[in-house]
Symmetry: C2
Subunit: 466 residues, 2 copies
Amino acid sequence: MTSADLASLPLDGQLAEVLAACGRNRERDLADLFRLLAQPSISAQGIGVDECSELVRDLLERSGFAARIMATPGAPVVYGERCNAPGQPTLLIYGHYDVQPADPLEAWDSPPFEPTIRDGRIWARGVADNKGQFVANVLGARAWLETVGELPINVKVVVEGEEESGSPNFPAFVAANRDLLAADLVYVSDGQVFETHQPIVEFGNRGMLYIELVAHGPSRDLHSGNFGGVAPNPAWTLVHLLATMFSPDGEILVPGVLDAVRPVTPELRTALDAIPLDEAAALADIGLTEKAAPKDLPYYDRLMVRPTMNIAGFTSGYGGAGSKTVLPAEARVKMDLRLVPNQDPAVIYDQIRAHVAAHAPGVEILHHGAMEPVAVALDSPLAAPVRRAVEVGFGVAPVDVPMVGGSLPSAVWPKELGVPAIVVPYGNADQANHSPNENMITERFYAGIRTSAALLGAMVGQNRQI
Amino acid sequence: MTSADLASLPLDGQLAEVLAACGRNRERDLADLFRLLAQPSISAQGIGVDECSELVRDLLERSGFAARIMATPGAPVVYGERCNAPGQPTLLIYGHYDVQPADPLEAWDSPPFEPTIRDGRIWARGVADNKGQFVANVLGARAWLETVGELPINVKVVVEGEEESGSPNFPAFVAANRDLLAADLVYVSDGQVFETHQPIVEFGNRGMLYIELVAHGPSRDLHSGNFGGVAPNPAWTLVHLLATMFSPDGEILVPGVLDAVRPVTPELRTALDAIPLDEAAALADIGLTEKAAPKDLPYYDRLMVRPTMNIAGFTSGYGGAGSKTVLPAEARVKMDLRLVPNQDPAVIYDQIRAHVAAHAPGVEILHHGAMEPVAVALDSPLAAPVRRAVEVGFGVAPVDVPMVGGSLPSAVWPKELGVPAIVVPYGNADQANHSPNENMITERFYAGIRTSAALLGAMVGQNRQI
C-alpha cells in the first residue's frame, strides 16, 4: 500500500508512527529473517533444530521480549513475553521454526538454505512455512517498542519446533503451561491466500480422523490358480465393506456420522458465497473439469460445510508392472475423514468401528490420529480488530473464510486456554511450501509486519470479549 | 514299489526287462540329472540359458535321440526325436529347462545350483520345476533303447527355455513347426501331487484372463484437506465399480461371464468326489478355517468347475507406515479370472469391457494376457495307457484330476497340433517350486523314469484314437 493509502485510513497517531518506522527498517527486518532462513531446522530429520531455537530466542531478545528455550520430549519450544500493559488484553502469537526437508535439492533454482531475493520474492525453505510469517509478527511488535518505547498490549510468543512432524509434544506443552500462555486471543499467521492475493481471515479449520482398515485373508500370499475360489480374498472383503461406507453419489453411509454436522446458517451462507472463486480455473489446475459427486454442491461447501471420507491409500497384493497371479494375504486401506463442526472424532471413530464390526467382523481397524474441528464465530468481538489490522497492513479489506479445508491442531487453544485462534495467512497462493522453490512475495512479508503492528494497536481495550 | 509288487503286475516281457534296467542305472541317471541341475538357467534374468540348452541337447543325444537346438526370438528350444517305429503312435514329451530365480539365497539350506541328496530328497533349484520331471521322461526312453535296442513307439521331445517367463515365444514356435511336432499325444510331467503322495493324471487346466483397471482422478496427488470433497477420488471409483462386478456372496456379477460354464455331468461329479481331500488340513495350511463364499460349495468345485474373479493387486495413494493425507491421482486394480471350459477369454474380456464402460466410463482397462481353459475327456482312449503307465511306475493306481486350478498354455496342443495333452506330475506336494529349498523326493524321480518307460510300452498300437 502506498503512503497515500495509509494516510486515508483513520490511524491512531502512534500507529502511524509505528508503521512509518516499519518502512524505514525494511533492510534490517529482512536481514533478521535471512539469519533464520539460513539455518536448516528440519524436525523430521533432526537437523539444526536446537541451533534454530537459539536463533529464535536471540531474535526475541533483540526485539525486547524476555525469551527462553523450554525443553519438551522432542524439539524445544521458544517462549517470549513482554507483558507491561496492565489492564490491556494479551495476545499470544503462535508459530513454528521447523521446516520441511528440502529434497529434491536439484529441483531448487537457488539453494534452499541460502535465502535470496529474485523477481520480488524471497526464496528459501521455510520462508513461508513458517519463518517469514511468525517473524513478521515479532517484528511488528518490535516496531512499537522502538517507536513508542512500549507495546500497547501484552504480547506472548510461542514458537514450536515440531509442527512439520505433527506437533507430537505441543498439546501437552500447552496443557502444562496454561498460566504462562494465558491470553485473550491466539493469533497465527500460517498458510496462504487465494490466487487473487486478497488477504483473508480464517475462522476455523476442519478436524480429522485418520484410520486404517486391515482385512486378513490366508496366512501368506497364495497362487491364485491353486487357491483362487478356495481362499477368501481380503481385497474383496475391503471393497465390499467400503461400498457400504460411502455411496457412488458421494454420501457417507456410516450411520450417525452426519448427525452432528452444523447446519448452514444464513450468515454462514453469505460468508461462503463471498469467498472469491474461479471454479473452472481451480479445477483446471488439478486436471479436472468436473467436481466429485454430488455435482451440484457449491465449491466451498465441499471444504467448509460437508465432512469427507477419503481413501488415502489402498494396498493389497501385487502393484508392480505387468501381471502377477497372487491371492493376497492382506489388504489395507488408509482413510482420512475431514470433520466439520460439531463432529467429534471420538464419536465418529466409534460409529465406524460399530459399522465395520457389523459388516466385516474380521476386519481390523487402526486409529492413526484425530483432530477436532474448530470454528470461531464470524461475529466474535475479536474478529473486528483482526479484520481492521489486516486492512491496515495489506491495504485491502480481507475476506472472511469460515473454515479451512485442511486440519490443524488448533483445538488445543480453546481446549487448554479457553480462547479461540484466528489465522491470517501471509503466504502467497504459490508459496510452494513443502515443495522445492518455496517462496514468499517480499511485499507480503512487509505487509505481515504492518498487520501485526496494526493488530497490537487495534486490540487496545479489547479484553476478554470472546 | 518293491520288485514283488512289480512281479504281480501283468507286465509285457520287454517292459519288465526295461524296468529292471532302470533299477540298475540309478546312479548314472542321477548323475545325468545333477549335471543339468548344476547349470543355472534363469530365463527371467537371462542367466545360463544357452549353456543349459546345450546340456539338454547333449543328454538327448547321449540318450539316442537326434537332437538340435532351435532358435526363437527368446531362449532356444531343444528338440529331439527318435522315430524308428513305423505304424506305431508318436508321443511328444514336453518340458522346460529354465528355472525360477533362486533368491533369497540365504533361505536355502544348501546352495540352489549345487544339487545334493538329503533326507531322501534331491535339493536344487529346478529339480521339480521342471528338470527332474522331463529328464525322467527322457531317461525312461533311454532304458528301452539300452535294453531292447529300440523304442517301441515314436518319441519326440521338445524342451523350451522360457516357461518361467510365461512362454512368450513357444506358441509361435509350435505353430511354425506343426509337422515336426506332429504326434498322437502330448505327455507332460510338471507340477505336483496331493499331500497323500498318490499319483494323479490331470485332464485339463483352467484358463485365465488378466486385466488391469485404471481409474484417473486429479492430475496429481492432492492434499486431502485442501481438495477433499472437491476432487473425485479414483480409489472410490474403483471400489464402486468392483462392487458391481463381484458380490459379497462370491458371485461374478458381470453379465454373460457365466453363460458358457460347462455343467457338471454325473461323470465329472464322480471324478470330483473321488479326489482325495483333507479339507481342514488344506485350509489350516493356508491359515484358514473357512472357505470363501459361498461356503457350501465343495472344495474341488472351486478349482475345477467355477471360474474365479480374483483381485491380484489394488494400489492407490499412500501405502507406507502411519498416515499421509493424500487424495490420489490414480487407482489401479489387477485382476485375474480363472476360466473353466467352455469360457472364451476373448468373449469374457469384451463382456467386462462393456460392463466397465457402462458403470465407470472413465476407467481404463488393460489386457495383460489370456489363456484358454483346456479339458481332455476323462474317457479319452489315450487316458487308459497313461493310467496304466502311472500304476506301473508308481505301484499305485492314479486318481483322475479333471482340471487343475492353475493355468498353463496347454491350449497350444489341441489348437496347433490337434492333439490333447495329458499331465502326470511327478513332484511331491511340498516340492517348493518357485521358493527356496526346492526339492524332489528321490524315489519320485525314479518312479517317473519307470512311468515314462511303461508309457512307451502301453502306447504300442494306440494310434490316432483321440
